[in-house]
Symmetry: D2
Subunit: 359 residues, 4 copies
Amino acid sequence: MINSIGNIYRLTSFGESHGPAIGGVIDGVPSGLVIDTEALQTELDRRRPGTSDVSSRRSEPDKVRLLSGIYKGVTTGSPIGFIIENTDARPSDYADIRDAFRPNHADYTYYAKFGHRDPNGGGRASARETAARVVAGAVALQALAAVGIRVDAYASAIGYVGCNADYNSFDLAKVWDSPVRCPDEDISAAMRQAIIDAASEGDSLGGIVTCIVRGAPAGLGEPVFSRLESMLGAAMLSIPAAKGFDVGLGVDSATARGSQVRDIFCVTEDSRISTDSNWSGGIQGGISNGNDIVMRVFFKPTPTVMQPYTTVDSSMRTVSVRPKGRHDPCVVPRAVQVVRSMAAITMFDALLLDRCRRM
Amino acid sequence: MINSIGNIYRLTSFGESHGPAIGGVIDGVPSGLVIDTEALQTELDRRRPGTSDVSSRRSEPDKVRLLSGIYKGVTTGSPIGFIIENTDARPSDYADIRDAFRPNHADYTYYAKFGHRDPNGGGRASARETAARVVAGAVALQALAAVGIRVDAYASAIGYVGCNADYNSFDLAKVWDSPVRCPDEDISAAMRQAIIDAASEGDSLGGIVTCIVRGAPAGLGEPVFSRLESMLGAAMLSIPAAKGFDVGLGVDSATARGSQVRDIFCVTEDSRISTDSNWSGGIQGGISNGNDIVMRVFFKPTPTVMQPYTTVDSSMRTVSVRPKGRHDPCVVPRAVQVVRSMAAITMFDALLLDRCRRM
Amino acid sequence: MINSIGNIYRLTSFGESHGPAIGGVIDGVPSGLVIDTEALQTELDRRRPGTSDVSSRRSEPDKVRLLSGIYKGVTTGSPIGFIIENTDARPSDYADIRDAFRPNHADYTYYAKFGHRDPNGGGRASARETAARVVAGAVALQALAAVGIRVDAYASAIGYVGCNADYNSFDLAKVWDSPVRCPDEDISAAMRQAIIDAASEGDSLGGIVTCIVRGAPAGLGEPVFSRLESMLGAAMLSIPAAKGFDVGLGVDSATARGSQVRDIFCVTEDSRISTDSNWSGGIQGGISNGNDIVMRVFFKPTPTVMQPYTTVDSSMRTVSVRPKGRHDPCVVPRAVQVVRSMAAITMFDALLLDRCRRM
Amino acid sequence: MINSIGNIYRLTSFGESHGPAIGGVIDGVPSGLVIDTEALQTELDRRRPGTSDVSSRRSEPDKVRLLSGIYKGVTTGSPIGFIIENTDARPSDYADIRDAFRPNHADYTYYAKFGHRDPNGGGRASARETAARVVAGAVALQALAAVGIRVDAYASAIGYVGCNADYNSFDLAKVWDSPVRCPDEDISAAMRQAIIDAASEGDSLGGIVTCIVRGAPAGLGEPVFSRLESMLGAAMLSIPAAKGFDVGLGVDSATARGSQVRDIFCVTEDSRISTDSNWSGGIQGGISNGNDIVMRVFFKPTPTVMQPYTTVDSSMRTVSVRPKGRHDPCVVPRAVQVVRSMAAITMFDALLLDRCRRM
């Protein structure tokens, strides 16, 4: 188990889905940052289950209790400890599958690694742990905002419904008005319908989250092994259900010709060096170049499909299972805030890491 | 700069493209491993430039000199230090562009971060540093082989030429006979022609490397932040020119339905728990499940295109450049061995990391 | 701020003396360990203030609430999160010295580093944070006991009162019956009197804690930079008020002759290789040799002396201070359990770290 | 094996005493530092064996070859790789003791950990590896000097000959004129004689190295687990033969009264906050306070004593050994430069680590 992420700005998290509480410790927070603690709760609410007809009906208030590191709204430089109580855990939902390995879940692999079968709905493998990430992300978002860096994310695809227009054409602040976290109203409606349709058949969908970091200075990222895309990729691929990650032109680079995707350098009106296109997605040679950092995270469909199946249990017996439980039919809407949080954590870490190279 | 990778099995590398030598230190090597040092050289030769008409004409013998940690062919538990001398460096090739920022290269971002312009062809940003990765990968490959784990990689796409058949239909040992590192003879020829055609126009191509790990036990990977895909993704995205990474169905998961991609558990003839499909790519919940681990790395076209362009220099003057230098018109053929090496380093690290949780 | 310790078995702690709670996350705990949670509380009680006439009168129940990682008394392999509520914080005690820098305290250095003056009695610099260490130590003690490793500690000096007999002559389980944590009844009484005498003059005393690890196998420690004495020393010197550390003959080695302190190897009756003396303190070349590991930690007198003094405040004004607050007149009695805990954390970490070198 | 030290400024070293070469990689070096490479060699020469009648007669030129990271005398921000060839290795000296475990050496513990007996004189356990530390220390010394921080060290005791006057009474630059590295001419002569006398009896001596860091700003050190004394202690206790470490009043704190050792704050003539004494040794609450940082490292006598002894070998047979080889009869004279180097590495790391907390 490695439950810490970050070099300088560093989250260590704990907690299982159906235990008493989850929480974490955020270390490496510079002192003197003004933190709006109510805004932290607002960010956390954006990941909360039970808020729309396309998310799990589990009803968790998800109130974060801050225990240290912030005094009268200002960070002290000490670690920020926090907990979020679990209030709507229902271990009984999982009584039927106490021993059976659910397909595409972590049941079997946790059993293989740790020698036991978590009896209560995923335990540490549940996406519930991502609430702690959002708390750390929310602190980072405020710190980044103070130096002019803004992080946004949105659902750019759910199943076959894509939102492919240039992100600059959207008002990304509106993402939170959409139940599926898509800034285009029509596409949002289509995405929502796609989820409802799949759910009505007991099925689930995957999708894509696009994330944009604006205002990051040139110079962030630590080659050769902590290139910025490497740090960001590691953060994103640690999110449950993430199966792929790319930056800029990304996976489509494979079929591009070099002559087509040159980001030609130019001097801007305000005398900065910039490029007249952004095929690179804001990162060159593993270091930010001052452009928008653009990345995508690809999510698989929720493993739990409400259709009967056979599987094996820890005694190697074949068993038939009729799925129960409260699951999102598509993880993307709630993953949007998690992706944004991981981007914020990583960018703030990269920013602080870059500081330490300065005499 | 972060020039180390790995938690337990750990490579720290150094060296610039046009300096006297590159090299590294491999720490965390268990004692008592039998190492065939000639086979290390063979693996390194597979990444070497100048060996085919589709790679750079830079001619480096790339002879690795092992300085410590191996005594009479057996590891001692001490770190393995090694160097590879640079013999064909030609800094003069770069005299013309001493101050100009080449598009899509790291020239500008290194300048922004470190405050200087490497005058000699990329310096630390050059892919030449990947030779050190191959040495560490070669040691890992031998250690993994001793416990029945095998790592293979091949070019699965170069530009629009794809090699899409199931990897089980190929003899992956034959990859090294192909100048482009593709196991299918016909597709290999087509890929080679695509590169030659692009190069004849002064252009460059991108592509995809597929990597397969066979024989890994269930249980590797450290949730929640060092999930196996997170460790592998970080390693791959640290390779120069890598812009995307996925596992299993990966980026195509986004459009899949949950019911279509369930890896149903079964009991094998030799009484192991397995699954009857492998959409997950061998990883579930961030932990290996005993199936083949299947991943892809997406590479952009080589930035250097042999077509004139304008850019700016460090004095913000607009300059015209007529490209020179010895560059691969497509990085994929040589990246195959680098991807394989990073997979080996990561898998061996994950294996050792898993060991330390055992009393 | 670095609030984590350990490579594999890793404690991350948080919390200030006068905030709502302190706590921590213990990561790297192997799964399947049987944990007696009541015994954890017993260990924590041994560090608790307010339990004798030689310790602070602050009255904290110090009840640990375990939030994750242990299910039905067995570790799951997930991180153990825990909190301890602060119930008897009295920030008002510190109103007088809101701006003044107390001598030998951390007031000024925290101000210099973090740019603010913690107004509430030391905040993160208070020894109250060591309660989190005792929780992590208590888990480690149980894990070590399961493999035959036992850690003891005792006050071997308080001021000029020393307890110099061979530790093998004591029953170290009796340490907890002594208010000063000394296993010799007469010396314990003398130490207690020394503290009372000093306190009656408003003064404070320093002292020495001796710690012994029995049953550790040969082979623990990671040269060259994480030698076992280096790991142990770093752990001990992170304890508030610790100013020195040694192993075996330690500081007295300086005046020894080589011929006098040779630990000559022999074969034991049960056919193990051992030595006929233990000047080395159980560590040679940075690695445990199977003998008892013997170390000492040297503590300074409590900085707060109940005698008026002048100092400066953050406005550089000279101010006179008449000390208040509830302080231990000697830190040693309560530090005994902290030293033991840090030894347990470190030894367990070294044990797990050694495991990961085994194929 | 953990062969890296430092959080940001980080040395990874490799190499055995009797292999072809030793060396290392220094990562985290800020770009733009002017480095006098000849001065690096001068610092290395100060640790070199064979330079006086009180050190080993092994004759190594110890010429460092810099391979990367410095271009035209200025650091580039890339890692500095370097090697030092071994030229006077004499494995044959160790033929007699191929299987015997020498007392107080690392022979047995390396055997227990790694399963083999290094046949060639200590291998990685030899103090020869400290040459790599001096290279990294020398780079750090230059970087620190550029910001007004100076690190000195000297032999303050060899056996019973102590050099106890206030270090401010010495010109510490003269240390290098003394064969035993003591700045007082008379005491130096007495120390030299003590070593010669002990050596003439085939015996060896221990001693103490005192190290002083001047000019460090207030604010360095990372509580609660990387307190500055914790970082320094870990670094020092990783030096071969070090058995104890203290800061300021250190081990003598144990018998002090709080009222006697208060460092009373005052305002200096140039309007800085300081203290009128330095019992704390420049560190309070784990953070530097702007005063001189004063520490001591206690060394045991060289294990090799030129007197016959019996021991056991790896087959558990009792064997008689008549010692050979070229050993320093007292490690202190050469350890002075190693202590100074480790202090420089640690202070520079602490400085850079502190930087990363600044927005």
